[in-house]
Symmetry: D2
Subunit: 338 residues, 4 copies
């Protein structure tokens, strides 16, 4: 088995998720070093159990290590672009968590840096690797449903984030629906050309006071003529509700939520089956390993990555258009954004 040595920058929640998944499920990626300026004892212990040989605080160690050929950037969002550019400039392949940056020009800088350095760039849109969504995607790409006419996505979180987080999140379109914008492009196989966004504050007035909405419906038009519609809610009391449907000239393909088990109870008051997963990490557990598997495959077999820099850029453009659309109460063309 071919392997490659990698580093991980950032050991917060998502950094640990990637470290664990790579250690357990992606033997092709050998984690040599993980660095986080805020590394603490608990995290260090967790990483030691994964048998990562070098656990430190200084990302420069990774950037300067010629043995390390690729780096997974899991820093805070506002440092994604900075580290991604540094990694690229060091001549290493880059996996950067999404969003690359909320500022469109910064995203371009990352894409340009990777191109200039001739390194691979993969963006962490993990849902593309979810077993259900991927199966829908593959059916669509295989022509099972013919030409795509409509992409429908329901994406609802179990509970809203803290108001403090909402205030700095960039708004529901950047923070939450950005995943669905990526999924919509991925499933449609075409670029979004126009966006109409509509939102409401139905869950918590404090979200509205923070300048955001908690419920949103967005209509999309794609270059290939297809349409899309996405609904988001910050609070589905029954759990993490993630369903996609693609309708076309030869049929429709859709997925259902995973549940912890497939049991059904037939009782006097009705038939009861399991609720959705309540936690994102449970819902998308396999997707995190699969996206790193794909990253390893790109590196080791000299292929383009499956989620490119442009794939990181477009959802941000769509989020910008959606934000403008909701603010101005009118459909916004993507061409108005850049």
């Amino acid at each position: 088995m071919k392997t490659v040595k990698i580093g991980i920058i950032g050991a917060g929640r998502i950094g640990k998720v990637h470290a664990e998944n790579i250690s357990k499920f992606v033997p092709e990626l050998e984690i040599k070093t993980i660095a986080d300026p805020y590394m603490n004892d608990e995290t260090r212990e967790f990483l030691e159990r994964l048998r990562i040989p070098n656990i430190g605080k200084d990302p420069e160690v990774i950037l300067n290590d010629p043995e390390i050929k690729a780096v997974v950037v899991c820093s805070p969002t506002d440092l994604h672009a900075e580290y991604a550019i540094k990694v690229a400039q060091a001549g290493k392949d880059v996996f950067v968590e999404k969003p690359i940056d909320y500022r469109i020009e910064r995203v371009h800088e990352v894409i340009d840096a990777a191109k200039k350095a001739g390194v691979r760039l993969q963006v962490g849109f993990n849902r593309r690797f979810d077993h259900n969504h991927r199966a829908v995607y593959e059916a669509v790409r295989a022509g099972t449903i013919g030409d795509v006419h409509l992409v429908k996505i329901s994406s609802r979180d179990p509970a809203p984030p803290s108001i403090d987080y909402v205030k700095v999140s960039g708004g529901i379109f950047y923070d939450m629906m950005v995943h669905d914008f990526d999924m919509a492009r991925f499933l449609a196989g075409s670029e979004v050309t126009e966006v109409y966004a509509s939102g409401a504050v139905l869950i918590d007035p404090a979200i509205g006071e923070a300048g955001d909405v908690d419920t949103a419906v967005v209509t999309l038009k794609f270059a290939n003529g297809a349409m899309g519609v996405i609904d988001n809610s910050r609070q589905a009391v029954y759990g993490y509700d993630q369903r996609v449907e693609v309708f076309g000239s030869k049929g429709a393909v859709m997925d259902a939520n995973d549940t912890p088990n497939n049991c059904t109870f037939y009782g006097a008051d009705g038939t009861v089956s399991g609720a959705c997963y309540k936690i994102m990490w449970d819902r998308y557990t396999g997707a995190f390993a699969a996206e790193q598997k794909a990253f390893a495959d790109a590196i080791l077999n000299d292929k383009p990555t499956q989620v490119t820099g442009e794939d990181g850029l477009y959802p941000i453009l769509i989020a910008a258009a959606a934000t403008k659309s909701m603010k101005e109460g009118r459909p916004v063309k993507l061409s108005e954004i850049e």
Copy 2:
């Protein structure tokens, strides 16, 4: 549209069900006369609303009416054979409710009478005409699952009958599982050769005191080598539970219970969908019309009936074998019965 004039003997529960279904859904069968010695005002009013022209108390009127070409026998069970024979002797086609009789020799007499008179005989095993079971049957007959290896039937009632009824019912194998014996033969496409029956009193000790069981599992062997298993319960608190499955060399086909609607509620405590129907007439509503449609088709297009006298006989033989098996604690061959 070709039509034929018919009579109905018996206007109890099942007689009214047939009268209503034929009136509404089987225009090929024109009900000229219905007769029941216990005809009362309420029933008469119900039948008048169906616009049946002759409503009376004397079955002889039907037997002696040369215009009437076929008769639906819905008398009490102990008179089924007597009326069926009289109808046959009058040269009219016979539809007789199941069971023809619990006594094997009486069943033979009915079959013989019909043969001798050269009239058609159809037995009221309505479940063969249920849309779900019929679709399973058709898939099996179409070869979808290849050779049949196993027939599985779950058949559970919402609530036990009265103890008075249990005492005269002939026991669970004659009264309840007889339907499933018919279904097993129907699905397997082969005759039962051996039966092992096992039962228990788990719902109401009074059923045991009445000499019966309320829960039973029966294993069948078929002439074509396939096996079968049936479970019965007198009380499924969630409703009328009726599922069949046929497994074979190329796959399996099974049905699910119908529910009053296809709604699902996603709630914090789980996903809830509708319970089964609670009442037999709701569950099998379409089957009663469909079996009369089939009777009309046989008469008007000169075909054999789909549920013959032999189809009425075999389930009684199997019930006899099951009763003997449970009593003697051993498998019983059908050849031991007659």
Copy 3:
């Protein structure tokens, strides 16, 4: 049982459907007379089998019959309003097929005529009476999902109508989505205040040449703050696809398509279950009887109808707003319409 004598004006497709359903399932409504200027022999024969005593060509016979207390108007669409007004003026309760009229002022005239005459007016939005949609509605009204946040409707036809029909249909919003506008209001329990409509020609260019679209997505805002989204397609090759979902503060409730049976085949290539119904009359068969049952209930028990004149008006207003929105490429407030 209390009954009332009624007349039916129009014996085309929907007239025959109502005549048959009322005859079979709504004994409270006694059809005395049905009249259609184009009555032909085949239709007459069909109606005779239903035992309707008076079958003729002149609707005036119905209007002038003092015994007839209510009339079901099934004329061509452009005569709905005219007959509805005449029926009202004759002092009879009115059931009028949808749409009352495409012209808003005509709808008002019908509503006003009924009010002035003090008669009941019910509009034929049959889907409100479908067992699945009704169960969703009842769950929502019972508070099962708490406050309504989002109403989602997918509504797709098996095949597009003829181009000749498309040309005179008024467009997809008046002809097809008008049902969904009614359903959206019904489920949301609130009035639509704003509409954004987006459409495309993806199925047949001839539909575009006729000035219409064949695929449409509409976003709605309701007075209570909730949002809605409807998608329509003129051609779902898998059949009549009709699903609704209501999401709220305590969960979500949704329905699934009915299928002719509940069988599942487990085969080497996957698990196959039945397709949706391919024909509208099969899909909504029970709904036609149920809406007449409700009409009878309103008449005989002196209640308001369940689908009022206003319920006939609002979907037309929404269709007007949607048409304007798609034409002008912007969200349109309902207040702009009247």
Copy 4:
């Protein structure tokens, strides 16, 4: 986190499965040594990637290592008992793969050895730890369905083993249904008292020539009065079909097969969803980790194991009774066996 050092004897298929699952998912069990007399380079490499420090050929190294407190016995079946006894005699907790032995007296020797040595003994009935079956079990134990009346198990393999294997397998009851005998006891919460077994050769005549059947149906009676029924097939072309159902006084609980994804395709010819898993390791992947988690929990928290020596014994007794029943064509009481 408390941890304990363990050894693994045997590095064949199941030995590698346990080594991998423990390494990745059960950090409480630290694999110090794995030994297999037939250790080859490929296996060694696989185990090295799991970072197991000592990989060798001699099980005695494990038996003699005082640091090792527990041993997982994954030897060939005919050595299970021998190694289990040696491990117990060395004062170490034992996890032994099923079946402990086909000979009842040898099973007793293992149980006695563990008792005498005062060590824990867990038997590898992994299906008890499957997420679906476990959820059914927990619902039953929680009283959700009230008193247990009936346990139904369908258990079908994707393809028969080689005829060479069939010849030495001990027959379908020992080799395949033994899992279901365990599951039946587990779900019923009661001991089997009587068995009636029926079998047929429907898949491959060579299986019959080897003295075995390939299709079997077994009826069980439990001490608590409940009944059970199990069906086995050596070949379900659609995959690994594993479903259980428990019916009782307050309802029924059942599980469904897992599938690789939850996608559904609506096509013109029907609705298609994913097939069952085709491979046992995929179907029960989580169960292998979960049973080792439970073993760790028993050791570290000083609890009895969840699958005791007696749990290893009873399925063998039932298999013996079933074999006898099929041979003699009569129900066999468990009391006849020992």
